[in-house]
């Protein structure tokens, strides 16, 4: 489904095929805006105290910060089809997945700020965002999300419900042995699993060409008898169309699917990344495909939203993001003694 240049002549057909309607698309637009504004807000806070010399240890947000700006359509296109009982296992780049899955933005931000009100009471940080009420799990270890999501899918299958599990990962992670091991297990046992690869062309500073013998992953999936879709990850409609088939297939008991979504991260791997491995021109080229204005254009063209509506949605999203960050900033830090509690349940 990947197109080098977007052509929209067939838009209505594609929307119909994807089972989308105005409400879903407006909600998706708002959610994508929320992710974008949330991450921008967090980014601005992150750089406080780090501008003269960049030092990860500086407050108010410490540690690494992996932004997903440019990946919003993938997270939203997939998670729009999930309910709270479905599981998502995410990676080091997790904010967009958490927000798309419906995790509370305030508690999310508070976790990143290391506050007692954070999702994990400040113990996890941005690579360890857990939210039990949304069945959201996370790991900072590349490749670890696949088997864990397969395990959740295995649970659902044993429990006989229609839930499914989604593993998100980057394209770099798909080179890890867990990818093929999980494909085999999921296909063997027909687990209700969807693996979503956000192919943003880089793993850290390593471009795809230096790490992969073949340019795409979907053949690997197919060689395990797992159907796979290569989609335009900057196009929420394209993502949604593939995700719907994958999710239906999983819920109906037919087994796993891989969605390989080509997208781009506009920021560095993490904040502070020297980005010496790619050119400014490349980034700008991809900026022309920004999934958020692209969806706005389409909503306008379809007559499903005018400027005022879109502005309203953006402002509502911005409001949510601002509230979330304010909640985080206003929250108290955890008590030091908390550090010693909770190793065992």
């Amino acid at each position: 489904m990947w197109r080098p240049e977007p052509s929209d002549a067939d838009l209505p057909v594609r929307i119909a095929e994807a089972g989308l309607d105005r409400d879903v698309l407006l909600a998706a637009y708002r959610r994508m805006c929320l992710i974008r504004v949330f991450e921008e807000a967090v980014r601005s806070r992150y750089w406080i105290g780090k501008t003269s010399t960049f030092n990860m240890a500086a407050e108010p947000i410490r540690g690494e910060l992996h932004l997903a700006i440019g990946h919003e359509a993938v997270a939203v296109g997939v998670c729009a089809l999930l309910g709270d009982a479905d599981a998502v296992v995410s990676t080091h780049r997790a904010h967009h997945h958490a927000l798309a899955k419906g995790v509370d933005p305030g508690r999310l931000a508070a976790e990143m700020f290391g506050k007692a009100t954070g999702l994990c009471r400040g113990k996890g940080g941005e690579m360890h965002l857990f939210a039990r009420n949304k069945r959201f799990l996370n790991s900072g270890i590349v490749g670890a999300s696949y088997p864990q999501a397969a395990g959740a899918a295995f649970s659902f299958q044993r429990q006989g419900n229609r839930n499914l599990a989604v593993a998100f990962s980057g394209e770099g992670a798909a080179n890890h042995g867990t990818f093929s091991e999980t494909l085999n297990a999921a296909a063997l046992w027909q687990l209700p699993l969807v693996i979503v690869i956000e192919d943003n062309l880089y793993a850290d500073a390593t471009p795809k060409w230096a790490a992969q013998a073949v340019n795409q992953q979907f053949q690997r999936a197919q060689s395990h008898n797992v159907p796979a879709y290569l989609v335009d990850g900057m196009d929420v409609i394209d993502v949604h169309a593939a995700a719907r088939r994958a999710v239906d297939r999983a819920r109906d008991g037919y087994g796993p699917t891989v969605i390989e979504a080509v997208c781009y991260r506009y920021r560095g791997h993490f904040e502070g990344d020297p980005e010496n491995y790619r050119t400014r021109e490349e980034v700008e080229l991809w900026q022309r495909l920004d999934p958020i204005p692209r969806l706005a254009d389409r909503l306008r063209r379809l007559g499903w939203a005018d400027d005022a509506t879109l502005t309203g949605l953006r402002e509502a999203a911005a409001h949510d993001a601002v509230q979330a960050v304010r909640f985080a900033e206003d929250s108290p830090p955890p008590e030091p003694v908390e550090a010693l509690a909770g190793v065992f349940a």
Binding site: A87, V89, G118, L119, C120, R121, G122, K123, G124, H128, F130, A131, R132, R135, L137, S139, I141, A144, Y146, P147, Q148, A149, A150, G151, A152, A153, F154, S155, F156, R158, Q159, A165, G177, T178, E181, T182, N184, A185, L188, G342, V343, F344, A345
Partner: protein
Amino acid sequence: MLSGIAPAISEAIDQEMAGNPNVVVLGEDVTYWGAVFGFTAGLFQKYGRERVIDTPITEQTFMGMAVGAAATGLRPVVSLMFVDFLGTCFDQIYNHMAKNHYMSGGQFPMPVTIVTAVGGGYGDAGQHSELLYGLFGNVPGIKVVVPATAHDAKGLTATALADPNPVVIFGHKLLTGHPGVPFEGEEEDVPKDPYTIPFGQAAVRREGTDLTIIATALMVRRSLQAAARLAEHGISAEVIDVRTLVPLDIDTLVASARRTGRVLLVDEDYRSFGTTGELAFRIQAGAFDRLRAPIHRVAVPDVPIPFAEPLEQAVIPSVTRIVDAARALTGVPATAR
């Protein structure tokens, strides 16, 4: 009557499975072979492939599946066929299973029980004869169970299966009772009904006054034999079975050390940077003023387990070496043996 820890462990799993449909068994060859040494023997025949599942040879994936399954309502029992294979899946164990409860601020307990076969002495060489429980004890978040008797094995497994945390049960092959490897255990009167044995309670297996021998698993057996021989030499050895390394019943160990004033640690794991060091630290911290001699240890002298019989016997602690060390510690010169 039961011979060996393997039937004891499988019985405990069986009794838990009967009452709890969320318990599933995952691992390599857990069906036909009962996880090779019998820890899961009979379960497949009773519960079928729906609940007793052979996996492909993909340790990191089935351990990772256990993490995801435990987070969503199942209670996985996972077989790591030989502990020596931990290097292929340690990430899922120590970075996820062990940490997710803490890192999630208490949201995701990880009720997973891992059963693994450990130990040498029958010629399985460097990649199939290790103990390695020291590694598991070193990283936070994992309970470490090292049974020496079938009775303990059953009760401790039942406790593990009721524990909301990751627990690893280290089943010593020479105690399993599995035909094919030597058996150094004995027939025991193990209650048929379910029962539990709490973690963190060491057992004084023999009382004594001259020195305290502290051991786990197979080494408890050998220490008891050594104690019997020492008695012939007029040395009264107390023998303590640690039973669980995490949590550790340091009070019992320290109390005994304070009484006897001399401690010999006997361990089949590698000597350095592991279990004996930790026990020594804690004992000297608690019994410093009562120790009459430095703490001694007998352990595998930091070499891989070699294959040939004379070589293997030279590195795995034997009754003779325990006796000699105890005699040296109590001031009686070691025999030439």
